[in-house]
């Protein structure tokens, strides 16, 4: 793919550190190589601290966690070098760079944490819906009706792809980023699919009087 960017990167006025990074990384020769090596060291440090921050959530620890952090730093470095001309100076250069490594750590940990075969989409999954919504045993009757109503709406209102995404995330509790990895797509696409599914279901349930609209709630 051709790089169609014609504008040079921008840096905030009065920020010589960011200007130095941009100049070095868009240059060539030994100065660029030295800057890339310095940047990589920083990214590895940030990746390790971010992986550690998330380690209690995904069960990955020790050498495996460190491997994930190092892979994330490597991939973030490539993303940054590929996109350095996109930097528009809305923040310090390193803040902009950090977001790439945070995202890579998040992405890689999700892929590691959720290992499974094909999604299970059956009666038992639907019975999990009330629990997913925090219902207790005393709400059994209400929960049964809710499951019937939502299931009918999902079957009747959503596309096949929207149903798959809704069931995986809501009923199976699959992390969004894990579904992204399984379907080979990106976070924005899955979020948008889920957003549209939620909006459709909400509108459907409002017209049938099961839930209220925002306007009614705010009145």
């Amino acid at each position: 793919m051709c790089d169609t960017h014609s504008e040079p990167p921008a840096v905030p006025p009065g920020d010589p550190v960011s200007a130095g990074w941009v100049e070095a990384l868009t240059g060539d020769g030994a100065q660029r190589e030295d800057s890339i090596a310095r940047l990589h060291v920083l990214l590895v440090k940030i990746a390790r601290s971010e992986a550690l921050r998330r380690s209690g959530l995904n069960g990955i620890v020790g050498q495996e966690l460190d491997d994930v952090a190092c892979q994330a730093a490597d991939d973030a470095l490539l993303s940054i070098l590929r996109r350095v001309t996109d930097f528009r100076g809305e923040s310090k250069f390193m803040t902009w760079a950090y977001k790439f490594v945070i995202f890579e750590v998040s992405n890689k940990l999700s892929r590691h944490a959720w290992r499974r075969d094909s999604p299970q989409w059956d009666e038992a999954s639907w019975e999990l819906l009330p629990a997913r919504l925090g219902a207790g045993p005393e709400e059994m009757a209400e929960s049964r009706e809710l499951v019937e109503v939502v299931r009918a709406a999902v079957d009747g209102e959503l596309t096949v792809h929207q149903r798959r995404v809704f069931v995986a995330i809501v009923l199976e509790g699959m992390p969004l980023d894990s579904l992204v990895a399984e379907l080979g797509t990106n976070r924005n696409a899955i979020y948008k699919t889920m957003f549209d599914a939620r909006r459709k279901l909400h509108a459907h349930l409002i017209t049938r009087g099961y839930v209220t609209s925002r306007l009614e709630r705010d009145a």
Binding site: V17, R187, H202
Partner: protein, 83 residues
């Protein structure tokens, strides 16, 4: 809160929500505003709406905030001098 209220919370969407891609495009600026103690929602309400609804992006944002705050506290290595 009833189960129906919880369902309402799950399904309700915010029209200001800009999605994951637009949030990623500006999350660095958003985070710096927050770390300065200002309210980034004033300038970027669509990102605030998105972070309230998207767990993965919200967690990434918390990670970025943690890095910036640690850096401000001097608990991570400072940026190197101009390369």
């Amino acid at each position: 809160m009833s189960t129906w209220d919880a369902l309402q919370g799950l399904l309700a969407t915010d029209a200001r929500d800009v999605g994951c891609a637009d949030t990623f495009a500006l999350i660095h600026a958003y985070a710096e505003v927050a770390v300065r103690g200002e309210d980034p929602e004033q300038e970027m309400p669509g990102i605030t709406a998105h972070l309230a609804s998207c767990g993965p992006c919200a967690d990434d944002y918390l990670g970025l905030l943690a890095v910036l705050r640690a850096e401000a506290d001097g608990t991570t290595p400072p940026e190197p001098r101009r390369p």
